[in-house]
Symmetry: C2
Subunit: 348 residues, 2 copies
């Protein structure tokens, strides 16, 4: 088997991490955990040339400058510039058309955090091995808490050493069901990481979403390559009805498989998730910038300028960014994307 | 009896209301409740010319510009400029020397809030009547909660219609004692508002604190008047050991009396006290500036610029002022004065 082809999907706005994540500088391009940005980390963990081919990045025109700046110069790889955001099924199809049919793709979001990159690589190799046999493989991330914010994958019968057929994709559950899933042990989180051969994916897409598949095929056929950029043809691409790879392909194919991945993963889906992904002090606090904390526990404070003084708080998040100040409880963090400041941004 | 002479004491730093109250613009000069500043309100409620003579203000050089700006032009009154802060016994003695011996002084802090100014005037008239008979009279503010942040006055035998002798001054109690005081009904808060004849005060001061009294006498004798300002002589004033009027005079005189005052008083001693003195909405929230609140209760937010978005908070205070952001629980508000930002200000 040849090297694995990383396909980094770089869209999304990250409004739930407002005001740090903004339309003009969204989540993947921010150094939210450590010194590298989430996008740079996504590149780094799939950068071993013994395992991985140069990456392909699928993004939109609004993010292109950030992508290319953070890709760096002298790095191989192709950037596919979508004329519009059409969700993941189309983005992956674009990449698949630009690879050989037998190439194994590893589709990765660019805005998640993985604390154990070696475990990621191991899972990628296991997934690629199954993909080489014709399976469409999802990472099944070991569930460590009854999360209600993630979709779940229910394992079916075993395939080989570590893989399983997928018995079902399960929508985000309520807390009672999430606790049941965790106790059951047969469920894993769906982290949106997939491996399959390019030809297998395109065949399944054509089978289950023929119009979408055809529109992407035309957009690539009439697209143009400029240096390390590929521009799909806009009129064909505009006809696509955006749909996720989960709905369009993974839930419909009879070849869906899952491999286990225990790699300290987080989707950094909101400020509380980010807080939990970071190194905290003995009181559970994280302070970035000029910060004074008195009698605080499990508090996250970050400021890009003004000093923040906090007294007596527990489970609170404070973010100062330019002309915006956010103060939310941990539980309220999931509502941040609906705030006026987050929702009413002009996309750049 | 002649008109009452208001003596407004205008010192103090108000560090517990940092970062709004700063060394360069302290608490009395800020519009903390309503549109007038606390100092302007202190002047306004003792401004009825049928009852009150023009005010005398005792302040320090650091505050002089604020005092004169907020006194306004065309207003009568004298500003006594202290060469150094020497606490209230000396400040009141300065004013007493500049009045006639039979003048009744009404000593008022400049950084409290009184929600019922008419009740204040009524209590002032009752206190002045007793002062005219030779009593040194404290306002006994009707206790409405078991406050541990105030000193208390215990009433003794009745004098006339509404006054009482003072049986004892009681230091700030713990909660159990404060609850006992409240249940007892014979205790009132000491709000630092006093009425007495100038001559009576100076005589009592000379009796109990002869050195202090003599130093003030010399500082006035060698002082100089410039327009509406009076400058005590600095060398004599420097010899004073600062002491409060409570310790130096009121706890020692045999002529201490108290009149009841039920006037929606608050010392605005910290952010939580300020929150309670303001008009709140149905959820108990106060928002000043660009503020969005979601699922918040009993929250105070004020910002002088940046937008503040708050989610899920209860009993929290958020203040944005220039390059400082304060976030504290209601209970933590009393610790604000000890924060680095509040404590390390350079006095101007």
């Amino acid at each position: 088997m040849g090297r694995i082809h990383p396909v980094i999907l770089c869209g999304g706005s990250g409004t739930r991490l407002w005001p740090r994540s903004r339309a003009s500088m969204p989540k993947p391009f921010l150094p939210l955990v450590g010194h590298e940005t989430l996008f740079e980390q996504a590149l780094s963990r799939a950068a071993d040339p013994m395992v991985f081919a140069p990456p392909m990045v699928v993004t939109g025109a609004a993010h292109l400058a950030h992508v290319e700046a953070q890709l760096g110069t002298g790095r191989d790889g192709l950037v596919v510039v979508e004329p519009a955001a059409k969700n993941t099924a189309a983005a992956i199809a674009l990449a698949a058309h630009l690879l050989a049919a037998d190439d194994v793709m590893l589709v990765c979001p660019s805005d998640h955090h993985i604390g154990d990159p070696a475990a990621f690589v191991a899972a990628a190799r296991a997934a690629a091995a199954l993909a080489g046999e014709g399976w469409l493989v999802a990472f099944g991330i070991t569930a460590t808490a009854p999360e209600t914010g993630y979709g779940y994958i229910r394992r079916g019968e075993a395939i080989g050493d570590s893989g399983h057929r997928i018995a079902a994709f399960v929508e985000k559950p309520d807390l009672a069901r999430a606790e049941q899933f965790l106790a059951d042990g047969g469920y894993a989180w769906n982290g949106g990481i997939f491996a399959f051969r390019a030809g297998d994916y395109l065949r399944e897409l054509a089978s289950h979403r023929p119009a979408l598949a055809e529109a992407v095929r035309e957009a690539v056929a009439h697209g143009r390559r400029e240096g390390t950029r590929f521009h799909p043809e806009a009129a064909a691409f505009a006809r696509i009805e955006g749909e996720s790879v989960d709905y369009a392909v993974m839930e419909n194919t009879r070849s869906a498989a899952v491999v286990p991945a225990s790699m300290a993963w987080s989707d950094i889906g909101n400020w509380q998730a980010l807080h939990e992904a970071r190194d905290r002090d003995a009181q559970g606090n994280v302070a970035i910038g000029r910060v004074e904390l008195v009698d605080c526990r499990n508090v996250l404070v970050e400021s890009d300028g003004p000093r923040v003084s906090a007294v007596g708080l527990s489970d609170v998040i404070i973010v100062v960014d330019g002309d915006e100040v956010l103060v939310t409880t941990a539980a309220g963090a999931q509502l941040v994307g609906k705030l006026s400041g987050a929702a009413n941004q002009t996309a750049s």
